[in-house]
């Protein structure tokens, strides 16, 4: 399914700040995988390719994987390479971070997972989260200036 990506805001009709019930009313109440740990709650609609994490019962991260198709400005981000995604967002970021597997565009509120940060790697997971929301964890990342 095609979803429009609004970094730091929404994926299709799913918006940051929604409750589980809000999101269930969009994606459906059936076939939801759930888990909880010390760091948050997780809900997954595997057939839709959607994974949601909640903090204090409020959605703080929307993630999508195939079969979801995340479109940004009419471009399917899952069809762009790591280098192309880097170039697409670099002009609107002061610093881009990597943990060697993914890229974080913190000002935009967008993360993309590749497995390996190599120019031709294709994304397999995309995340939307509040912009500039995780400074306390930046020690886990390194700044990346080019791909």
């Amino acid at each position: 399914m095609r979803y429009n990506v609004k970094p730091s805001e929404s994926l299709g009709q799913i918006r940051l700040g929604m409750t589980s019930n809000d999101i269930r009313s969009i994606l459906g109440f059936e076939g939801i995988l759930q888990n909880e740990n010390d760091f948050g709650q997780i809900e997954v609609w595997i057939n839709d390719g959607i994974r949601i994490t909640y903090q204090d019962k409020i959605c703080d991260c929307i993630e999508c994987f195939k079969p979801a198709e995340p479109y940004y400005n009419n471009i399917d981000l899952f069809k762009l390479s790591c280098a192309e995604i880097f170039d697409l967002f670099k002009s609107s970021e002061d610093k881009i971070y990597t943990d060697t597997e993914s890229l974080l565009f913190l000002s935009n509120g967008l993360g993309v997972y590749f497995g390996d940060i190599t120019p031709n790697a294709l994304p397999t997971l995309l995340a939307i989260f509040p912009s500039n929301s995780r400074n306390e964890y930046l020690f886990l990342y390194n700044e990346v200036t080019h791909i």
Binding site: N35, N37, I42, D60, C61, Y113, S133
Partner: protein, 119 residues
Amino acid sequence: MKELETIPGHDRHEMPSNSVLQKLGFGKNFGPAVQMKLEAHLLTGSYGLGKAKDAFRAAEFALLKSGKYEDAWMMLEKDFATAIEKSGGKLEDYKQALSAARKDFFERVVPALKELKGK
């Protein structure tokens, strides 16, 4: 540890997280990994790109850096087991792979972490 080939419908779940071990100074895929069904992997705490994943990995990092290896492994194994259970899988099916990962962690990774800590 021998490189795992990915089984269709499965993901490679690193224990500890690959990025955490790299942050501690090791190369990619240094640690053990277990093949998990995708639906179970999606329910682990270290999966994803959100703040909750960062918090999980920060806890892993702190435990390993401070030498609390048993606590680190318990955290990882609990997370793994819960994800299997919540996804409708059977932990019994992963018993052998999990045991091999545990052995590798304590016999190879922990000595390397201790050596690193001593430097």
